[in-house]
């Protein structure tokens, strides 16, 4: 049977009433979970395991995939409306998304997030369908050395997010790195910078950092700048249309297409998948933009790109799971557990032994993406009502949501304290004009990067040339280098100075 016939058969089984209902329930749950920071998709899928016992394997898995996709959609909502990213993957959305909201353009921001998510999600399922076995084999060639070089290239690439002041950018990165090294060292199990506190043994959760620096920091900023506003009775409100303008469309389309491709490939990589996807999607658009200074001030591409990319990553992340039986992310790891509960052996033979199930799942991904678009678009007018709430009520609400989110991750009060500490750090940094984005990037990328470096040098028995002698690794490094050179040259030619970036500069 060819792919098309298999897919049709998949649709036939995914389109039964109970399976569509399962997808619908999953999507709705996922959206809610995405909105609530702290409760991530992997936790939710795990909590659904007992429910799964009472369902057909197909329905249960479809519901869980719905949760996974829904969470990616939902994550954009709090990012845009409150600058509280619910998932690491929607951090980049918060930057321009919240700026758009402040300008009264929350409607288009949410709409483009939903549309981008839909297109990115759908394109990545097509990619999954057509290229899965091929890509899976290539992905295996990515070892620690290659991963490290890829991260170096990515970091060079994202240097555009540094902002104008180099020193301040480096300070921001240094703080991010400091946060990233807290916790037990993977290679030795030795606690680093934990100050004897068990809370720090497994490191500081990136979500806490994000919610603190962005969400709580924003509230503190508002508190100290209140006098500039009028008496605190003001509201953000809405201006203009809820829907995208012609100009919005023109800007968003190319970003959505590019980010779909980027997100898909980033998703295949183990470990960093969807958050890396968001970062890369955003950076590429900023790089390509004629007026990169618009980014951080509410550029619609800045919302379209990361939201598309993190949804496109879901299809990529499923490739190692379906073709090799190896989880590429927290959520897919839990999904594999569910497979085994049903006595389905995930692994290299899954696609041949259980073709019917796999294709039903793939078909359900298409269905869930459509359901999510249908669920999300009509709700936009409702969601944006939040911004009609006077700011003096909205700000405390942000604090509450962030605090509840921080607590619910591990039922730990210490995390709430940490949240507010990071809020303070975020506020001080803004005060001093230190950009926040480099810190976030460092905190997201550094743990994986450090481990890859250590693993690669351990494997090569301390020989650092491993990064140059391994061909794929060398290609990544060269790409990073060429990129920097090209950048310098083009800058000299166009005499375009580094543009002061991002939302932090008030």
């Amino acid at each position: 049977m060819d792919t098309f016939t298999l897919l049709l058969a998949g649709f036939a089984s995914a389109l039964t009433l109970s399976n569509v209902l399962a997808a619908l329930v999953g999507c709705m749950l996922g959206t809610v979970v995405g909105i609530l920071p702290g409760l991530g998709p992997s936790t939710t899928v795990a909590l659904l395991i007992p429910v799964a016992f009472s369902l057909q394997p197909e329905s249960a898995l479809i519901m869980m995939l719905g949760v996974y996709l829904g969470a990616m959609y939902g994550g954009s909502l709090t990012s845009i409306l409150m600058k509280v990213p619910g998932e690491a993957s929607s951090v980049m959305t918060a930057i321009d998304g919240f700026e758009m909201a402040k300008k009264g353009r929350a409607g288009p921001a949410l709409a483009v997030a939903a549309i981008g998510s839909f297109i990115g999600g759908t394109l990545s399922v097509i990619g999954l369908m057509l290229f899965a076995p091929l890509i899976a084999r290539y992905a295996l060639a990515i070892g620690p050395a290659e991963y490290f070089s890829l991260m170096v290239a990515a970091l060079l690439f994202t240097s555009v997010l540094m902002g104008a002041d180099m020193i301040k950018g480096l300070v921001s990165i240094a703080i991010g790195l400091l946060i990233a090294v807290v916790g037990s060292d993977l290679q030795t199990g030795v606690p680093r910078l934990t100050f004897g506190q068990s809370t720090f043994l497994e490191g500081i959760d990136i979500i806490i950092v994000l919610m603190g620096i962005f969400g709580v920091g924003e509230v503190l900023w508002y508190l100290t700048h209140r006098n500039e506003n009028q008496r605190g009775g003001e509201r953000i409100g809405l201006k203009g249309k809820l829907w995208l303008t012609r100009d919005d469309w023109k800007r968003s389309w190319p970003a959505i297409i590019r980010s779909s491709i980027i997100g898909f490939f980033a998703g295949v990589l183990p470990g960093a998948g969807s958050s890396l996807a968001g970062v890369l999607g955003y950076t590429v658009e900023k790089r390509r933009a004629k007026h990169p200074e618009r980014f951080g001030q509410g550029a619609i591409e800045g919302v379209a790109a990361p939201e598309t990319a993190n949804n496109a990553a879901t299809g990529g992340a499923m490739i190692p799971m379906l073709t090799l039986g190896i989880p590429g992310s927290g959520t897919t790891a839990v999904l594999l557990v569910v497979f085994t509960i049903y006595g389905i052996q995930p692994g290299p033979r899954l696609m041949t032994d259980n073709a019917e199930l796999v294709w039903a799942l793939i078909a359900s991904l298409y269905i869930s993406n459509i359901l999510l678009l249908l669920l999300n678009l009509p709700l936009i007018p409702l969601f944006v009502k939040i911004l009609d709430v006077p700011v003096r009520f909205l700000m405390p609400t942000i604090l509450v949501i962030a605090a509840v989110g921080a607590y619910s991750m591990k039922n730990s009060f210490a995390d709430v304290v940490l949240l507010f500490i990071f809020g303070g750090i975020g506020f001080l940094m803004r005060r001093l004009g230190i950009p926040l984005v480099p810190l976030i990037l460092a905190a997201i990328l550094a743990p994986k990067m450090e481990q890859s470096l250590r693993q690669a040098t351990l494997l090569s028995d301390g020989d650092w040339s491993t990064f140059l002698t391994r061909p794929i690794s060398a290609v990544f490094l060269a790409a990073g280098l060429i990129f920097v050179l090209a950048d310098v040259i083009s800058k000299n030619r166009r005499r375009r100075s580094l543009i002061p970036a991002t939302a932090e500069d008030d």
Binding site: S18, S184, G271, Q345, G347, S412
Partner: protein, 338 residues
């Protein structure tokens, strides 16, 4: 079809309840057992040192399910996930709730590894008491199917000649993955402290590294290696069980069969708070003893690729002390502790 649709809806409702319920499961019970009321009289909080979906969470949930399906206890068991902190916050409940009878704690070998590594001062006996060891997983040594090695003893021979002959992958450090390698090496006369062992954070990542040829051999739980083993992508050279297992592992020789005298049990067990009343300890020992004899538990073991293992109270405690001693000596020899 209509019926199954309704079923889905019901399941969804249950899901929502489950999700909203999880973050607010409250501290169960207070005080010790009351002589007049038969134990257990109320809800029991089963705190597990892991996030939902993780190994220890699955362990707790399978116990909860089996006990209720077989009606082995009148107690209502509520599971609380206390993730993070290397499992220390879970065991801290043992100290906080000393003398009470309404808390059970699910954990693994971290109860002794953490004190060895100096990340906690919570220790067995003083802060929590052993109740029962309920099952184990065995650890395997695996290579890619195109590897020149066909037995565990061959690997050990190669390492005896050159301890850096192979790069070895494990999940985390310190762990049973790692101790398995160190103990097997020691038993085979290899200088364990010189081995090149690299940690790869998770079992999934570890297998990717093996399949991609980044490491020569890995040490991991049998259940994690099983899919690739059945697909013929990897070869399993040795398993850390005391004797040949049944089922999918029946083709795998133990270390002992290969003249390497080593057994590693990656067990999971249940503990109680410090000074848990003897009646309560006894109650759970008996209840678990009944549980592990049921067919339902046998199914659970089979489904998860766990192996049967049952020890209670003092036997359980003695094993932990023995493992802790070996672990401390080996970790000291490789320089992880001073």
């Amino acid at each position: 079809m209509k019926r199954s649709a309704r079923f889905t809806l019901a399941a969804a409702t249950a899901a929502i309840v489950a999700i909203t319920g999880v973050s607010c499961s409250s501290n169960a019970g207070s005080g010790g057992t009351d002589g007049a009321v038969e134990y257990p009289s109320g809800a029991i909080e089963f705190a597990t040192a892991g996030d939902p979906g993780g190994g220890l969470d699955l362990f707790a949930r399978q116990i909860q399910q089996t006990l209720s399906a077989e009606s082995l206890t009148d107690a209502q068991i509520d599971i609380t996930n206390i993730g993070g902190g290397g499992g220390n916050p879970t065991m801290a409940l043992g100290r906080q709730r000393a003398g009470t009878a309404e808390t059970l704690l699910g954990n693994s070998n971290r109860v002794y590894l953490n004190p060895i590594m100096g990340t906690t001062d919570l220790t067995m006996g003083k802060d929590f008491v052993p109740i029962a060891q309920l099952m184990t997983e065995y650890v395997v040594l695996a290579v890619r199917e195109d590897s020149p090695f066909t037995s565990g003893s061959q690997v050990m021979e190669a390492l005896r000649e050159d301890t850096r002959a192979l790069t070895l992958g494990v999940g985390t450090v310190p762990s049973d993955d790692q101790l398995h390698l160190l103990r097997a090496a020691e038993a085979a006369g290899v200088a364990a402290e010189d081995l090149n062992i690299v940690a790869f954070s998770s079992g999934g990542d570890l297998l990717t590294q093996l399949l991609g040829g980044q490491v020569d051999a890995i040490s991991t739980g049998f259940s994690e290696a099983l899919p690739q083993y059945e697909a013929g992508e990897i070869r399993i050279l040795a398993i850390s069980a005391p004797e040949r297992l049944d089922g999918p592992a029946s083709g795998i020789p133990t270390w002992i069969e290969q003249d390497v005298d080593v057994v590693v049990e990656h067990w999971r067990g249940v503990f109680g708070p410090a000074d848990m009343p003897a009646t309560a300890v006894k109650y759970w020992e008996d209840t678990f003893e009944k549980m592990v004899a049921t067919d339902a538990w046998a199914d659970v073991l089979e489904r998860n690729q766990w192996a049967p293992l049952f020890r209670t109270g003092d036997d359980f405690g003695a094993i932990i002390e023995e493992e802790a001693e070996t672990g401390e000596r080996l970790l000291r020899s490789v320089g992880l502790i001073e």
